[in-house]
Amino acid sequence: MSAPEFKYEITRGFLPGHRACAGCGQASAVRLIMETVGPQCIVANTTGCLEVFSTPYPESAWGVPWIHSLFENSSAVAAGIEAALKKQGKLDAVKVLAFGGDGATLDIGFGAISGMFERGHDVLYVCMDNEAYMNTGVQRSGSTPFAAATTTSPAGRRSFGEDRPKKDLPAIAAAHGIPYVATASMTLFADLRRKVKKAVGIRGPKYLQVHVPCPPGWGYDEKLTMEVGKLAVECGLYPLVEWEDGEVTRVRKIKKVPVEEYLKGQRRFRHLFRTEEGKGLLAKIQELADANIEKYGLVD
């Protein structure tokens, strides 16, 4: 069989040969985002999974201009790039993006992203939310969901895992009054594509938080990334919402499945299925999902 060789143009934005885990939700999401944005962009990336698996010198999976500085400052670096492009008169033609994981965005980079939002920079910030510090070995972040086990919030005789609810950064972003905020899931890729396209068409700060399942971190067979991600949305724990200028303008309706369907397939929630206390926690998690459904009107 002599089919023509596979060709990978750098205009795709994100190319093969990167070192992401097999079944990585982030890699899938980034590919889609870059193909939607196109090559006329500059990306500032935080330290984290994406940065590490895409740029071990001298290899780079990026086909667009890309810079990695530190852990908490991609929003500030992006702001600097934006200011420079503005001065050069290129901001109409070139989009500025910032990528960061949940740890980088919600925790250590919180001040910097808030400042970037508040100053109104024309930057699209995309948070890859796999709900823990995955690159360093699955430690909890402010985005780790209630009762999830991570290496710094493990389940044990005296602990049921993460005891705090997920920090709601999309609402915080919306409270800054920026033109566009959206949550998305890499598993609902048409929805993600639409949101990316919409975001790059708007001037000003935009925040896009993308749920990206992580096989080793969440503990599921890598082939099930799409299924796991869909269940997160369909049970109401990861509502897909859009805010414009601080107000909710659109939500994605769900069919509603019980949270157990989503949680039971992941090792990080396995401890909840083994004890009486776990049963009580599952009920609490269902309450969290129901609260989201109520708040955003996710079920008709």
Binding site: I10, P39, Q40, C41, I42, A44, N45, E51, V52, T55, P56, Y57, P58, E59, S60, W62, G63, V64, P65, W66, I67, H68, S69, L70, E72, N73, A76, V77, A78, A79, G80, I81, E82, A83, A84, L85, K86, K87, Q88, V94, G111, A112, S114, G115, E118, R119
Partner: protein
């Protein structure tokens, strides 16, 4: 054009003449007048730059990093706590070989909180890969900024430069300065022409990580180029003299050192006081000299040895403390003299911490105690405070 202006104003105007594209600023005493003056200049259209009012110094430096990586000339200024907050970004900028100029206004470090002048802050940055120049007076500090961009953007350097300026002493005092014209500065300092930049038409990845098979060589190159940048510092100072007619030294500036038996070394504004005191001592028949250390990084090893060559005694006036060890500058001076044919005793005289005045009396005390054989001392102390504690 001659004007009688505040030191901060001299810096702001000099920076404006360098045509920065992006200025990022977070206020902190005593840097505030610089960023306020720049802000007014931008507001009035006297400077054509994007002014980014960042929410922290860490972001101030990060904004500069992004702007330079995208191919524009950038500027920021900070001091003390602000420098400490942006330390990892400073290492990052130098490590990524991005040209940049930041004014490091010198101020003491907390705790305890102090807004007054000493050198502890920039001394703590001596290993970051930033070049460091220390200014003696307002004329020098404004000239230094123009030179700094030229040094930093030189292909042989590609390292950021910090212009160190004594807080309050220089930022908040008025001196008569000769401000160059825009035409003069344009002729001396061309626009920034990046060797590499973030450009969709020619995309590159900057900031890839380096595993153990590469990191050491990258660090070696930084050290190699930092040492080689000494020649550029000297070259630019000479070019500046030819273009503007002013010279205040390149890496060093000796004052009455040729036949001096005792040489006092200082950095920054204390050198001005030193020179006056040296005149008094010379009038008394004492062979004292003052050696200004203008460029601290890279450290001018050969030039220092030559300048100190005939002295029988060296006193290093230090406005910082190498806590738990020795004086910072003094340790480097001692290392420079180690094994040389002439190894005069070097006394480390720490003084002026937290804004304590250094006066002729302080120098007298330093000289007397050095002559009595003390090698590391604190001068200008209030003994009654120590007795009480």
């Amino acid at each position: 054009m001659r004007k009688m202006i505040e030191g901060s104003r001299a810096v702001a105007e000099a920076v404006g003449l360098c045509r920065p594209d992006v200025i990022s600023a977070y206020p902190i005493t005593p840097q505030t007048h610089i960023v306020e003056d720049l802000s007014q200049m931008v507001a009035d259209g006297d400077i054509d730059a994007e002014y980014v009012r960042v929410e922290s110094e860490h972001s101030a430096a990060s904004v500069c990093l992004g702007a330079v990586a995208a191919g524009s000339r950038a500027y920021s200024a900070t001091t003390s706590q602000g420098l400490m907050l942006m330390v990892e970004v400073l290492y990052n900028i130098a490590g990524m070989r991005l040209p940049l100029v930041i004014t490091g206004v010198n101020r003491a470090l907390s705790a305890p909180l102090s807004i007054w002048n000493d050198h502890q802050d920039t001394m703590a940055l001596r290993d970051t890969g930033w070049l460091q120049l220390y200014a003696e007076n307002s004329q020098e500090v404004l000239d230094m900024h123009i030179q700094a961009y030229k040094i930093s953007e030189d292909d042989r350097v590609l390292l950021p430069v910090m212009v160190c300026m004594d807080g309050y002493v220089l930022t908040h005092t008025y001196e008569s300065v000769d401000m160059p014209t825009q035409e003069e500065v344009d002729a001396f300092l061309p626009g920034y022409d990046p060797l590499y930049r973030l450009d969709p038409d020619d995309p590159y990845t900057l900031g890839a990580f380096a595993d153990p098979s590469l990191y050491q060589e990258m660090r070696y190159e930084i050290q190699r180029d930092a040492l080689a940048s000494k020649a550029v510092v000297k070259e630019v100072a000479a070019d500046f003299k030819a273009a503007f007619g002013r010279w205040m030294g390149d890496v060093l500036d000796p004052y009455q050192c040729d036949d001096a038996e005792t040489i006092f070394i200082g950095l920054g504004t204390v050198v001005g006081t030193l020179k006056e005191w040296v005149d008094v001592k010379r009038g008394q028949g004492e062979k004292v000299g003052a050696l200004k250390l203008r460029c601290f990084r890279p450290f001018p090893l050969e030039e220092l040895r030559e300048a100190l060559g005939n002295a029988k005694r060296v006193v290093v006036v230090e406005k910082a403390v190498g806590v738990g060890a020795y004086g910072i500058v003094a340790a480097e001076v001692r290392a420079a003299l180690y094994g040389q044919a002439s190894m005069p005793p070097v006394t480390c005289a720490m003084a002026g911490l937290g804004g304590r005045d250094i006066t002729f009396e302080t120098f007298e005390e330093m000289l007397k105690r050095a002559q009595a054989g003390e090698s590391d001392l604190f001068a200008g102390m209030r003994a009654e405070l120590l007795e009480a504690s």
